[in-house]
């Protein structure tokens, strides 16, 4: 490169002067490099800072076995003790119910987009609506379920309502990633199956979906990670309970985000502050674990295209 540049004949460029490697150009190049590396470093700071804050302030309670096995029943902000069992279970229950509803719809929706509706107007409409759903703020999803579940149907504020609103948030994530994976399945596989006389639906169920399975699981994990950290639906659709409540259809339910929210106004008190950061760390660990699992699965199950 450099020797070529040095030997190039002089030329008076009018639009963009690329002759020689003048000081100004070299300087601009270096400046851009420095700025871009700087951008990257700036972007890393918040991540490391947040992780450091949460880990350093929250780790001590997590080492206590009680944290994983007890609830906050009867424990006030000034008292040490108790655990996050109720909140962890609440978070898991609500997000798993959400997944149980959202994942089948998402996979079938993706199957529709890739296998049945490809190129049609209807598929374009569906695709556009998924994009819109991706952008729906969690508070709007929560309000919508509030309108349906409580105002119109007259039910109470329960964990299941939260699951329903989380479905709206999880559906587009899983659907999009499943769609991408189904698209990657080579057509040769489908054709081979058709050539053997296998009907289309069996081909999809037994050939296409299994081939893309790893990717689909990755999408589900990422979707779960997204909904677990959501707080807004919890604030509107279910009250926070310090007791263990494993029934999503009755009564208030604890969850990690609302456990943080509950005590965040009492951060001046040490027991409350400890619990807030420990709950935050538990939540981050849960979410990061899902993310890492998703990436691992993705790495080991990439579809090898020829």
């Amino acid at each position: 490169m450099t020797t070529l540049a040095a030997n190039r004949p002089a030329y008076d460029g009018k639009t963009l002067d690329l002759t020689g490697k003048s000081g100004a150009r070299a300087f601009r190049n270096t400046l851009a490099t420095v700025l871009i590396v700087l951008c990257f470093l700036i972007a890393l700071i918040p991540l490391l800072w947040i992780l450091w804050t949460v880990v350093s302030k929250g780790y001590s309670l997590l080492l206590d076995a009680n944290w994983w096995s007890q609830s906050q029943r009867g424990i006030t902000v000034r008292r040490v003790g108790g655990g996050a069992y109720h909140a962890i279970m609440g978070t898991l229950i609500m997000s798993l119910i959400c997944a149980a509803i959202a994942v089948p719809i998402a996979i079938m929706g993706a199957v529709y987009l890739v296998e049945y509706g490809k190129g049609t107007k209807a598929a374009k409409v569906v695709s556009f609506m998924i994009d819109i759903l991706t952008g729906v703020p969690s508070i709007v999803a929560a309000l919508f379920i509030y309108a349906v579940w409580i105002t119109v149907l007259g039910f109470n504020r329960v964990g299941f309502a939260v699951s329903l609103s989380l479905v709206l948030l999880m559906l587009p994530v899983v659907l999009r990633s499943t769609e991408e994976m189904l698209k990657l399945v080579p057509d040769e596989l489908r054709e081979a199956s058709y050539a053997l006389g296998v009907p289309k639906w069996k081909t999809i169920l037994k050939v296409v979906v299994p081939t893309a399975f790893g990717g689909i699981i990755t999408g589900v994990m990422l979707g779960l990670a997204r909904v677990m950290g959501e707080t807004a639906p919890l604030l509107i659709l279910v009250g926070y309970s310090k007791n263990i409540n494993l029934n999503p259809f009755d009564g208030f339910m604890g969850a990690l985000p609302t456990m943080i929210n509950q005590d965040r106004t009492e951060l001046a008190l040490e027991p409350a502050a400890d619990r807030v950061w420990a709950a935050a760390l538990t939540l981050i660990l849960l979410v990061l674990l899902l993310n890492l699992l998703a990436r691992l699965i993705a790495r080991f199950s990439t579809i090898k295209s020829k």
Binding site: M1, L16, L18, T19, K21, N29, A32, T33, C39, F40, A43, L44, L47, V54, A106, M108, G109, V111, Y112, L113, Y116, G117, K118, G119, A122, A123, F128, M129, I132, L133, G135, V136, P137, S138, I139, V140, L143, F144, Y146, A147, T151, D187, E191, G197, P199, K200, W201, K202, M228, G229, E230, T231, A232, L235, I236, L267, A280, I284, V287, N291
Partner: protein, 354 residues
């Protein structure tokens, strides 16, 4: 490649005589029809959900809006319920928009820098871990952003706020109120910027990576430096992508709830409204979440649902705009523009000939 992708349903020929040894299961098309129906139904369900969100919110908002004794769009008062319900979204709209726009202005240049770093600057081996690390930012729950933002991050913003206020304080937007409160719109904006950074970065990164090799190598062959190559080839190619990524980021920032709820201090009811970004305020989302306990009467709930509907419509518009920009002039430039798409034809034909 694409002979079976839905255009010609490759069903089994039914007229074939069934071989005695070749048992492939029943030939009936019932399974096919059921499965296709399920798939279509799921697609339809998605459309129905989005439509329902709009319809339901509208249906519950209308009665409250009809009773409203104040201009919904232009009033800054928020006193729903009671005998004389008066509420308007002007203040909420302003705070939501200004905080999100500032977040976007801060996040986009950094996101573009990070995307360029991972695609064209970092060593190949570093690129993937770096991308993952930035993606992890998206995995941090927003309530943690909120707590960290107000407790740890806001104090280091104090000098920035003071500096900006003393330099630009004559503009109402940067006017500093007397209080030393850190829970201001500006703080929320910076935290929002961190939160939307991974979204904007991920999309920009994808589009920068798609810049045709011919464009890049052409620029380099002309003797361009790396930065000039990026300016001549990568940035023009990715411009529409970056614009739509910023819009998606904006959409995300508009709807962010809990982080904003924690950071922004709610102004006193008696205080005069302050347009400065160094004052507190409430966004649509934080207002709704903050008052979830007030949803006792249909009239009150209706007012909040009306606010939620406006938020839905605004994010809908922003996201649609982003998608339309992608569809119009996305990577690969289906609709070439005069000065920047000249290389596309060459790139496409180059791809076709071995």
């Amino acid at each position: 490649m694409s002979s079976t992708d839905g255009t010609g349903p490759p069903d089994r020929p039914t007229d074939r005589a069934p071989g005695p040894k070749l048992d492939l299961g029943p030939v009936g098309h019932l399974g096919d029809r059921l499965f296709a129906g399920l798939a279509r139904g799921s697609g339809g369900l998605v459309v129905a959900i989005v439509a329902f969100v709009g319809v339901f919110l509208l249906a519950l908002a209308i009665p409250a809006l009809a009773d409203n004794n104040s201009s919904f769009l232009f009033s800054r008062i928020w006193e729903p319920g009671g005998d004389n319900p008066r509420f308007g979204i002007a203040a909420l709209f302003y705070t939501t928009l200004i905080s999100s726009i500032i977040a976007m202005v801060i996040a986009v240049p950094i996101a573009v820098g990070v995307a360029l770093f991972t695609t064209y600057y970092s060593p190949k081996r570093l690129a993937a871990p770096v991308s993952h690390a930035i993606d992890l930012l998206a995995a941090v729950p927003s309530i943690i952003y909120g707590l960290w933002g107000i407790l740890f991050f806001a104090p280091i913003l104090r000098p920035v706020i003071n500096g900006l206020a003393s330099a630009l304080g004559w503009i109402p937007l940067f006017e500093k109120p007397a209080t030393d409160n850190l829970g201001v719109v500006f703080t929320a904006s910076v935290v929002l910027a961190i939160m939307i950074l991974p979204v904007v970065t991920a999309i920009s990164r994808e589009i920068f990576a798609q810049t045709p090799v011919a464009h890049r190598e052409g620029a380099l062959a002309l003797g361009a430096t790396r930065w000039e190559m990026i300016r001549m080839a990568v940035l023009p190619y990715g411009r529409s992508g970056v614009v739509s990524a910023s819009m998606l980021g904006l959409g995300r920032a508009l709807g962010e709830t809990v982080a904003v709820l924690i950071i922004l201090s709610v102004p006193n009811g008696n205080d005069p409204w302050n347009s400065s970004i160094f004052a507190g305020g409430e966004t649509f989302a934080s207002k709704i979440a903050n008052n979830a306990a007030e949803f006792d009467s249909p009239e009150k709930t209706g007012a909040y649902i009306a606010a939620g509907l406006v938020l839905f419509v605004v994010t809908f518009l922003v996201n649609s705009a982003a998608r339309i920009i992608v569809a119009r002039s996305g990577p690969g430039g289906k609709r070439p523009r005069k000065n920047r798409r000249t290389g596309d034809k060459a790139a496409q034909t180059e791809g076709a000939t071995p």
